[in-house]
Amino acid sequence: MRKKLLAIGLLALGLSLGQAEELRVLTHSSFALSKALIQKFERETGIKLRFIEGGDAGETLNKAILTKDAPIADVLFGVDNTFLSRALEAGIFEPYVSPEVRNLRSETILDPTLHAIPVDYGYVALNYDKDYFKDQPLPTTFAKLADPKFARLLVVENPATSSPGLAFLLATVSAFGEDGYLEFWARLRDGGVRVAKGWSEAYFAAFTRYGGDRPLVVSYTTSPAAEVYFSEGKYKEPHTGNLLFPKSSFFQVEFVGILKGTKHRKAAERFVDWLLSKEVQEDIPLNMWVFPARRDARLPEVFRFAEVPTQPAKLAPDAIARNRERWIRAWTAVVLKGQDPRNAR
């Protein structure tokens, strides 16, 4: 019996060594796809997928940059447009003109050289608890959000550690300008805004819908749809609403790229094509709660609760690149250290 097991084991080992090519995919920790689809890909291509989580979006990218001389993966998924310039400047990607690119929405293609290939997009936006605001007024403009009576109801993510936090900071820069955004934040601070480390802490711990005490939260326009979906039939309508003012939401695109120096270029190309295929693109919304970049991908029914803002904030990737660290540092000085906006700039 034991001999038999050993033989089977050796056989399996031999097969796995001889046959399956392993593709290492570095992702941020919010990456998710249906297991069945992943297994189907592995079966059909003979490529074994190994997903490596690198932390938050920014942290994951930094790991790829730090190790570019000895890459820890073949493919990187999850760089977004707030970090795109850093990835491109560091030169970690090889360009790949996937045949599927022509099916993608043109506004998502922010890197025309196709080092970074769009996979999905979404909108970081303010959410509110409908039950809480049933008999209370909501803010009527973006600027009024900083009034003390609303600021003390709001939880945001720290832009230094969280990509929705950074996206919302960029939205305030876009809405109030270089001269005004820090004053806006100083008013939020004085009004008692709460700062969470990341999205899950803000949404699942501080937001009133999940037992917290803040009925206003920075999240995504898809969050109401997710709420209905995960209630498993309990709610027909979301109890969370999107609070959309001009430039209060931020257009966010996520990219995939083939890491320079990979020894599995062909497998990496197949993986990228697969990510952009109709089947996977239609699987993305219910797993990652973002919109597929592919034009002809059908959205799940529940996405009718996911709004598309008419006037999102948009900043050019190179403007973000030049100022990102300075904005974050000034934000930290004003909001966390309580400095006067005039000294923090």
Binding site: L26, N62, T67, D69, A70, I72, T161
Partner: protein, 511 residues
């Protein structure tokens, strides 16, 4: 024997410590230095780290003095009390952080959330350092203090005056040493402030990590490393000076008798205090049993489920990574520690400073240095093992030096007369004689590697996640299941380090 040992050690230190440090200094003294200097934000970080260290040291000393007095008397369970009070000191920082999360975190047992307040940070530092501080002070008191105080009182001094004029001077080197060590450990602490401090109460060490991991800002991170090394070097040298005056202070003295009523009063106070101190550990254990599916072993079962997870490192993976890296590091730390001890046997200030060098360099700073010095080796297992060995060998060496000094010259002379060369003497005479110290030192080095977190976070490849990294990752994810698994993993980590530590320490006792 001294010269080749010194040479090999120098080679190791050059590659593992000095060259990476030199790279950090070269970069940190550049433009980043002035940027950091001009930014009040970083001054705030430095001031808070100093404040955190000083306040914690003061809190530890205020609590340790009465404990040291109490330890001087016999009370039921005294030996067990002393052993248990030493437990926090050998616990990995992530276990401690998880314990405080379980007690006073957002889902804590006490129902109050202290995360993000300075209170929980100082409390954690007291948790760590109180036990050994009390023992240092007790050692001093046992030798001189209490008799002297009694004498002073017989001569007419009031209790307060006797304490001020007699006991305090006797205790002062111990206060300096215990306070200094607490300051060093707290000032450069990483895991606890990272997990419990929030953004506002980040130490320099946390800030260095963030600058690198989130902003990839080598110049600024290196400049902050320079600040930190400067503070640590100054304090460590002070500690070295104070430490010379309390040599042998860790022994637990013979207890004096108390009347029965006093005995039980003292036992109640000391045991009550200890249980209060260890509360985070009980909370951790309880939290690990609170699974989303109900009270029981659910969290542990999920960790052991053979279902191959695509995304999170399983318990077996993480455990085997931790053990592999730690034992590999021990293989490297053993010769390094031994050579250092052989070189240091003769004494000499230079060698002693050399031995303290790793104390100046915090784990995260070491990680920054390695990333800078060896870009081609980034994310290789070798750098991780090298870091563990560098952080661990001084612990080994410090256990070995007194043992080696204790071997009589005559014995070695006799072996030489009988024709044994220096290597043969080392292997056949000296090593067998210092075996207990070697085992105890190895236990300390191994323990430090198993619980290492700061350097690991910077150097590890994501798929080689160790226990500490796997716990940290789970704590960062939403949901009760992840939280419960993190708690269960922390219990496993505490048990692994505890079992290994006691196995080696027991081996040391049996000699």
């Amino acid at each position: 024997m001294q010269r080749p040992a010194l040479l090999l050690l120098a080679l190791f230190l050059l590659g593992a410590l000095l060259y990476p440090l030199a790279r950090v200094v070269a970069l940190g003294a550049g433009p980043g230095f002035f940027e950091v200097l001009a930014d009040p934000y970083y001054w705030g970080r430095l001031l808070w780290s100093l404040e955190y260290g000083l306040v914690s040291a003061a809190a530890v000393l205020v609590l340790a003095v009465p404990l040291a007095y109490g330890l001087g008397y016999a009370f039921p369970g005294r030996a067990a009390w002393v052993a248990l009070a030493g437990v926090p000191f050998v616990l990995p920082t992530l276990v401690v952080a998880a314990g405080f999360l379980a007690l006073v975190g957002p889902r804590g047992l006490l129902g109050i959330n202290l995360v993000g307040t300075p209170l929980v940070l100082v409390w954690a530092s007291v948790f760590y350092n109180l036990g050994f501080a009390a023992r240092i002070l007790h050692g001093l008191l046992a030798r001189a203090g209490q008799e002297l105080e009694a004498a002073a009182r017989t001569l007419g001094a009031g209790p307060f005056r006797a304490f001020l004029r007699v006991t305090l001077p006797v205790l002062s080197p111990g206060l300096l040493a215990a306070g200094g060590l607490t300051f060093i450990y707290t000032f450069a602490s990483f895991g606890v402030p990272l997990l419990l401090g929030g953004y506002r109460y980040a130490t320099l060490e946390v800030e260095i990590y963030r600058l690198l991991a989130f902003e990839l800002d080598f110049p600024r991170a290196s400049a902050l490393v320079l600040w930190q090394v400067a503070v640590l070097a100054a304090t460590s040298l002070g500690y070295l000076w104070a430490g010379r005056r309390i040599a042998g202070g860790l022994a637990v003295g013979e207890p004096k008798a108390l009347p029965p009523k006093g005995r039980w009063l003292l036992a109640g106070a000391l045991w009550g205090g200890l249980l209060l101190l260890l509360l985070p550990l009980f909370a951790l254990f309880a939290a690990s049993l609170a699974a989303p599916e109900g009270f029981g072993l659910g969290n542990y079962r999920r960790l052991l489920a053979p279902e191959a997870s695509y995304f999170a490192p399983s318990l077996t993976q993480a455990l085997s990574n931790t053990l592999r890296f730690s034992f590999a590091a021990l293989l490297l730390a053993l010769p390094a520690g031994l050579f250092y001890a052989l070189a240091a046997r003769g004494g000499g200030v230079l060698v002693e400073v050399l031995g303290l060098l790793p104390l100046f360099v915090s784990p995260v700073s070491l990680g920054v240095g390695y990333l800078l010095a060896y870009p081609g080796l980034r994310a290789s297992a070798f750098l991780l093992v090298l870091a563990y060995a560098t952080l661990g060998y001084p612990l080994l060496a410090r256990a070995l030096v007194p043992a080696l000094r204790g071997i009589s010259e005559e014995l070695l002379g006799a072996a030489a007369t009988l024709g044994a060369g220096p290597w043969r003497r080392l292997v056949r005479v000296e090593l067998p004689l210092v075996r207990p110290a070697l085992l105890a030192g190895s236990a300390l080095a191994l323990g430090s590697a198993i619980g290492e977190f700061g350097a690991t976070l910077l150097l590890v490849r994501p798929e080689w996640a160790t226990l500490t990294v796997a716990i940290y990752e789970r704590l960062g994810k939403p949901g009760l299941a992840n939280y419960g698994e993190a708690m269960a993993m922390s219990v496993v980590l505490a048990l692994v380090s505890g079992v290994l530590f006691f196995a080696f320490a027991r081996g040391a006792e049996l000699g």
